[in-house]
C-alpha cells in the first residue's frame, strides 16, 4: 500500500500539469466584474430609500408652500376636511388618531394571542401539536390583506353588531368601524408576533432552562420567569415590527374602517387612517397637482417617518438581542 500511495501522489502531481492553465487575468477580470455587478444590485436598495425620501420630500414641500396651507395647522390641527369645498382643513391629527386607534385594537388582539402562542410553541407544544399549529400560523401570514378587509367588513362587523344587539339591545358598532378593522389587522399581524417571538425564545440557550429546572421550577416558572425575560428584547422587537405593519396596513382599513376623519378613540366609530385617506385620493381621480393630491404626499411622508421610526426601534432591539445570544 505504501509504495502505491507514493507513486499515486507523484502521478497525481504530474497529471495536474497536463491541464491547460486558465488565465489568471481572465479570472480576476470576471471576479472584478461580478463583484461590481453584485455591488450595484446591493446599492439599488439605497436608491429605493433615496427615491422614496426625495419624492415625498419634494411633494410635501410643494404642499406646505401652497397659500392655503399652514405648516402649524398641518402639524397641530385637529380638523381634516380636505374635500369639503370652501371649508378645507388640513390638520393631520384626526388621521393619526384613526391610525393609532386601529393599531391599538390590532395590538390588543395580536400581542396577547401571539405571545401566548409563542410561549406555547416554544416551551410546551409536543411535536404533533407544533405540526398542527405552525401551518395555521403560516396560512394566516400568507392570506392577502384584502381578504382580511373582506372579513372585517362582512364577518367581524356583523358579528360585533349582533353581539352588542344581544347584550345591550343596540348594535352600537356602525357599519364601518375602527374595532372590526383593528381586529382584522390584529389577526393579520398575529403571525409576526408569534413567529418572531418564538424565534427569540428558541434562541435562549438550553443551559438557562436546564438550570432553572434543576432548581425545581415548573414549566410555567421556566417559560414566564426565565425564558420570556431572557428573550425580552426579541419579543419587544416582534411587537414593534408587528405594529409597524399595522400602521401601514391599507386594504383592511380602506374597506372596513370608514372614511370620516375625526378625533375619536371609540372603536365603535368609523375613522379614517392615513393609508385610507391616501386610497381615497388615489382612487378618486383627483387632479395630479391639486391640493388634495399634494396633501396625500404629505400624509404619506408622516406615515413613512412613523413606520421608519418604529421599524428602526424594532431592528435595534432585534440586533441587541442577537448580539447577546448569537
Amino acid at each position: 500500500m505504501s509504495a502505491l500511495s507514493v507513486k499515486a501522489a507523484s502521478n497525481a502531481v504530474a497529471l495536474t500539469r497536463r491541464g491547460v492553465t486558465r488565465s489568471n487575468r481572465t479570472r480576476d477580470g470576471w471576479e472584478f466584474m461580478i463583484r461590481g455587478l453584485l455591488g450595484c444590485t446591493a446599492l439599488i436598495s439605497i436608491a429605493i430609500t433615496a427615491g422614496i425620501i426625495m419624492i415625498l420630500l419634494r411633494e410635501t414641500i410643494a404642499f406646505i408652500q401652497l397659500p392655503e396651507i399652514h405648516l402649524t395647522d398641518f402639524l397641530f390641527g385637529t380638523t381634516w376636511s380636505p374635500l369639503l369645498g370652501a371649508e378645507k382643513h388640513f390638520g393631520i391629527w384626526p388621521l393619526v388618531c384613526g391610525t393609532f386607534l386601529v393599531s391599538m385594537v390590532a395590538a390588543a388582539t395580536a400581542i396577547p394571542l401571539g405571545l401566548i402562542t409563542a410561549v406555547y410553541l416554544s416551551e410546551y407544544a409536543t411535536v404533533s401539536k407544533r405540526a398542527l399549529l405552525k401551518p395555521v400560523i403560516e396560512i394566516l401570514a400568507g392570506v392577502p390583506t384584502v381578504v382580511y378587509g373582506f372579513f372585517a367588513l362582512l364577518v367581524i362587523t356583523p358579528a360585533l353588531q349582533s353581539a352588542c344587539n344581544f347584550l345591550f339591545g343596540a348594535p352600537i358598532f356602525s357599519g364601518y368601524n375602527a374595532g372590526a378593522a383593528g381586529i382584522a389587522v390584529g389577526i393579520m399581524i398575529l403571525p409576526i408576533v408569534a413567529s418572531l417571538s418564538e424565534d427569540a425564545m428558541q434562541s435562549v440557550p438550553r443551559s438557562l432552562r436546564e438550570g432553572a429546572y434543576a432548581l425545581g421550577s415548573t414549566k410555567f416558572d421556566v417559560s414566564v420567569k426565565v425564558v420570556t425575560p431572557a428573550a425580552l428584547s426579541g419579543v419587544m422587537a416582534s411587537c414593534f415590527l408587528a405594529i409597524t405593519r399595522a400602521i401601514g396596513e391599507t386594504m383592511v382599513v380602506a374597506l372596513a374602517a370608514g372614511g370620516l376623519a375625526h378625533m375619536t378613540l371609540n372603536p365603535a366609530d368609523q375613522v379614517q387612517t392615513m393609508t385610507a385617506y391616501m386610497v381615497q385620493i388615489f382612487l378618486g381621480d383627483a387632479p395630479a397637482f391639486g391640493v388634495e393630491n399634494l396633501s396625500s404626499y404629505a400624509v404619506a411622508m408622516v406615515l413613512f417617518l412613523l413606520t421608519l421610526m418604529l421599524s428602526i426601534i424594532g431592528n435595534i432591539l432585534l440586533n441587541r438581542f442577537r448580539e447577546v445570544y448569537e
Binding site: 396560512i139 384584502v146 362582512l154 393609508t275 388615489f282 406615515l303
Partner: protein, 333 residues
C-alpha cells in the same frame, strides 16, 4: 403558608397557564376556520352551479360533473351584472404582473444577498445597506406605490404625461412593445411590486446563504477557488432550496398586494387582456377590493368567489414551497 400549599399553588398555576395556552391556540385555529368557512359560504354562489351539484350528488349524474364549477366566472370579464361578471382579466393580469415581478426581484434580490453574504467588506457602507434593507421591509406597501407612480408610471414627467405617451418602441402588436412613460401598464405594475418584495427576497436569501456551513466555504477557498467560484459552485447550490422557498413566499405576497397598484391608478373595469408590456391590466386583489366595497350583496358574493380563487392559487404556491423545503433539502455537511 406551608410548603405543601406553596407547591400546590405552583402546580395549579402551571396547569392554569397551560389551559390559557390551549385556549389561545384554539382561538387562533377557530379564527382561521371561521375565515375560510365564511368565505366559502359566500363564495359558493358564483363559483358553483347548484343545479349541477344537485344532479351529481342527489341523482348521481356523473356527466354533469364538469359543470359543477361555473367556468364562466373564470373566463368572463368583469361586468355590471353580477351574473355575467368574471375574473378573467384579473387572473391574467395577476399572472403577468407576478411573472414580471419575479423576473426582476429574484435576480436583484438574490444578487444583493450574495454580495452581502459572500463579498461585502465589513465596513460602514455595508452596515448601512444592511440596516436600510431591514427597515425597507417595514415600509408600508402603499408608500412603494407612490414611488412607483412617480418613477415608473409618470417617469418623473420626462416623457410627457402618462395618459399620452411620448415615446414608444417596437411594433404596436408585438408583446414587447413598450411606451414611455410606462403609464398604468404591466411594466409599471411589475416594477412597483418588485420594490415591495425586494427586501423580503433579500432577507430570506441571506438567511438561506448564512445557513450554509462556513466549513464548505473554507474548503472551497482553500483549494484556490475565487469568492465568486465558491459562491456559484458551492454556496448557492447548497442554499437554493431555502432560497426558492423564500422566493415563492415573496411571490405570494406580490400576488396578494393591491395597495401599491391602486396608487398607480390601474383601471377597475377592463374588457381585454394585456397585449404588450405597457398595456393596461388589473389584478385579482384589486378586483376583490372593488367588489367587496360595493353595497350590493351579490358583489360581496362575487368578491368571496374571487377570494376563493386567489386563496387556491396561493395555497398551490405554498404547497410548492413546502414541497421544495422537504424534498430538496439535502444534508449540507
Amino acid at each position: 403558608m406551608s410548603a405543601l400549599s406553596m407547591r400546590t399553588r405552583r402546580i395549579v398555576k402551571n396547569r392554569a397557564f397551560l389551559a390559557l395556552c390551549l385556549l389561545s391556540t384554539s382561538v387562533t385555529i377557530l379564527i382561521l376556520a371561521l375565515l375560510i368557512m365564511s368565505i366559502m359560504l359566500q363564495g359558493s354562489h358564483f363559483l358553483f352551479n347548484s343545479e349541477a351539484i344537485n344532479a351529481v350528488f342527489a341523482h348521481g349524474e356523473l356527466s354533469q360533473l364538469t359543470k359543477v364549477i361555473r367556468w364562466e366566472f373564470l373566463t368572463n370579464f368583469a361586468s355590471r351584472f353580477p351574473q355575467k361578471a368574471g375574473i378573467y382579466a384579473a387572473v391574467i393580469g395577476s399572472i403577468w404582473v407576478c411573472a414580471i415581478c419575479a423576473l426582476l426581484a429574484l435576480p436583484l434580490g438574490i444578487g444583493t444577498a450574495i454580495y452581502l453574504e459572500e463579498f461585502a467588506p465589513k465596513n460602514r457602507l455595508t452596515a448601512l445597506i444592511d440596516f436600510n434593507i431591514r427597515n425597507l421591509a417595514g415600509v408600508p406597501s402603499i408608500v412603494y406605490g407612490i414611488l412607483g407612480l412617480t418613477a415608473f408610471t409618470r417617469m418623473f414627467g420626462f416623457f410627457g404625461s402618462d395618459k399620452n405617451s411620448a415615446l414608444s418602441f417596437g411594433p404596436e402588436d408585438a408583446w414587447w412593445h413598450i411606451q414611455l412613460p410606462f403609464g398604468q401598464g404591466l411594466l409599471a405594475g411589475g416594477l412597483t411590486l418588485m420594490l415591495v418584495v425586494l427586501p423580503i427576497v433579500i432577507i430570506s436569501s441571506r438567511e438561506a446563504l448564512r445557513a450554509v456551513p462556513a466549513s464548505l466555504r473554507q474548503a472551497s477557498l482553500a483549494i484556490g477557488a475565487t469568492p465568486w467560484q465558491t459562491a456559484s459552485f458551492i454556496t448557492l447550490p447548497a442554499a437554493i432550496p431555502s432560497i426558492l422557498t423564500g422566493a415563492i413566499l415573496a411571490m405570494s405576497r406580490a400576488m396578494g398586494e393591491a395597495a401599491p397598484l391602486l396608487v398607480l391608478g390601474i383601471p377597475v373595469f377592463i374588457a381585454n387582456t394585456p397585449d404588450n408590456l405597457t398595456d393596461n391590466f388589473t389584478v385579482l386583489p384589486f378586483q376583490i377590493f372593488n367588489w367587496a366595497g360595493r353595497p350590493q350583496e351579490s358583489f360581496h358574493q362575487l368578491a368571496a368567489s374571487a377570494i376563493v380563487v386567489l386563496l387556491v392559487v396561493l395555497i398551490c404556491f405554498n404547497g410548492v414551497a413546502v414541497y421544495l423545503r422537504h424534498k430538496l433539502r439535502r444534508p449540507m455537511a
